[in-house]
Structures are given as C-alpha cells and as structure tokens.
C-alpha cells in the first residue's frame, strides 16, 4: 500500500512539472526552483506535511520534498534554538543530501565523459 501511495503522489507531482514545462515554456531549471520554493512555502503553511504523511517517498523524493525538508528543518530549529535556528535549520536538515550532491556530482563528473550524442 505504501508503494502504491508513493507511486501515485510522486507521479502526480511529476505530471504537474510536465504540464508546467509543456504549457508555460518553463525550463527544467525554472520548474525545479519553483518546486523547491513551493515545497518550503506549502510546508510553512502546513499543507505539505499531510501530503508527506500520506505519500511517503512519493512526496519526499520529488523536489518539493527537498523544500519540505528545508521548511520542516527551519521550523523545528527555530523552536529549539531560537533566532540562530533561522540560519541553521534548513541547511542542517538537508546537509546530507546537499553534501552527497556535491561529492557524488563532482566524482561522477570527473570519472565519466559525456557520451557522444547520436
């Protein structure tokens, strides 16, 4: 059941992205930026939390889920650490993913060469 929910929620989020790209001529970069920012905002106003509870990885794996982790992290950190949490919360919650992206991204870029386009 969790897998079906993840499939459905993840699929729907990706379709929204596809519609934005096809319908409004947004580039992938614009879609990703929009999704992360909306993830943060939707989390802040309490809408994304129920979606994440329902969809599991279907809600946390797409880019709005990255925004969800940022928003949730900053709110928890402000509760715990006060004013410093404003700056530490979001990045702390996503530190693993960001460091992995930088490290693996660099590593793979150095190891592999682009394939010739056919």
């Amino acid at each position: 059941m969790v897998y079906i929910k993840a499939f459905l929620v993840g699929g729907v989020i990706c379709v929204i992205g596809q519609l934005l790209m096809d319908g409004t001529k947004m580039t992938p970069a614009h879609v990703l930026v929009t999704f992360v920012t909306s993830g943060v905002i939707l989390t802040a106003i309490g809408i994304y939390e129920p979606i994440a509870n329902f969809g599991g990885a279907g809600a946390t794996v797409p880019l709005p889920g990255f925004g969800y982790a940022l928003g949730k992290g900053v709110i928890e950190a402000v509760k715990k650490d006060g004013i410093l949490g404003i700056f530490t919360g979001g990045i702390q919650a996503t530190a693993g993913g960001v460091a992995a992206a930088v490290f693996f991204g660099y590593l793979m870029s150095v190891i592999f060469n682009p394939k010739t386009k056919k």
Partner: protein, 146 residues
C-alpha cells in the same frame, strides 16, 4: 481539397499534432516519476529494516538516490531515460543529481575549477539559492510568530 496550399496544411497539422504529445508526455512523466518515487520508498523501507529510524532514513534515502542519479548520468543512461520521461526524470531528487553531473561533464575541458566545479551549479545553484533563501524567510516569519 485542391485549394488547400502548403501553409494552410502546415497550420492545420500544427494545430492537431501537439495534443497527443501533451497527453503522452504526462503519462510518461507520471509512470517514470511514480516509479522513481516507489523505488525511493523501497530504499526507505530497506534502510529502516537495517535499523535506521524515520529521521535517519529521511536523510539516507536522498543520499542513495543522489548517488544513483549521478552514477546513471555518468553512464549516459539517465539522459536517455529523460528523453521520454520528461519531468518524470527531472522532478525527483535523482534529476537534481542529473542536473549537476550533466553540465559538469560537458564542460570538463574548461578545467576542474571553472569547468567542472563551477558548472555543477548551473541548475543546482539556483535551486539551493531559492531553497535556502525561502527557508530563512520562513524561519524569520516563524520566529516572530512563535
């Protein structure tokens, strides 16, 4: 029928062709995006079986997916998937890894600092700027409300 000229015919075709693509793109995005998320769910369940709690699993899952996304981009397979998956391969976190490796590989000849390291962030940079930026703003608002 003989009165129809080439331009009219082209307009007519253009008016009809994009619609099926629209629908097809969404179906592919739904299936591939859904499958990547299902796989993410599988990884989450797997690492939790090996003793990670929910919060740790929420960190481990993106790390593993980012590794796979970067790796398959390096192999050239992820971009092949992206040709028909569209947003289905861009929106999941694996697509974020793809957006890092793809330009970085491409610009390797410009060196390891201004080529690879700088180009890694041509899409990931804006994502982090707006992501971190909005999280700080949410933090400020929350601080004053709380």
């Amino acid at each position: 029928m003989k009165n129809i000229n080439q331009k009219d015919y082209k307009d007519y075709v253009d008016g009809i062709v994009p619609k099926p693509t629209y629908f097809k793109n969404c179906i592919w995005a739904f299936i591939i995006g859904g499958l990547i998320c299902t796989f993410g769910q599988f990884i989450t369940e797997l690492v939790m079986k090996y003793g990670l709690n929910k919060k740790e699993a929420a960190t481990a899952t993106p790390i593993i997916l980012i590794f796979l996304g970067a790796f398959f981009t390096g192999l050239g397979l992820y971009d092949r998937l992206g040709k028909f998956a569209g947003a289905g391969s861009i929106v999941p976190i694996t697509g974020f890894a793809n957006s890092i490796v793809s330009p970085a590989m491409e610009f390797k000849r410009e060196g390891y600092v201004l080529g690879v390291a700088a180009r890694m962030f041509s899409i990931a940079g804006p994502v982090l700027v707006y992501g971190f930026g909005s999280s700080v703003i949410v933090g400020i608002i929350y601080y004053f409300i709380y």
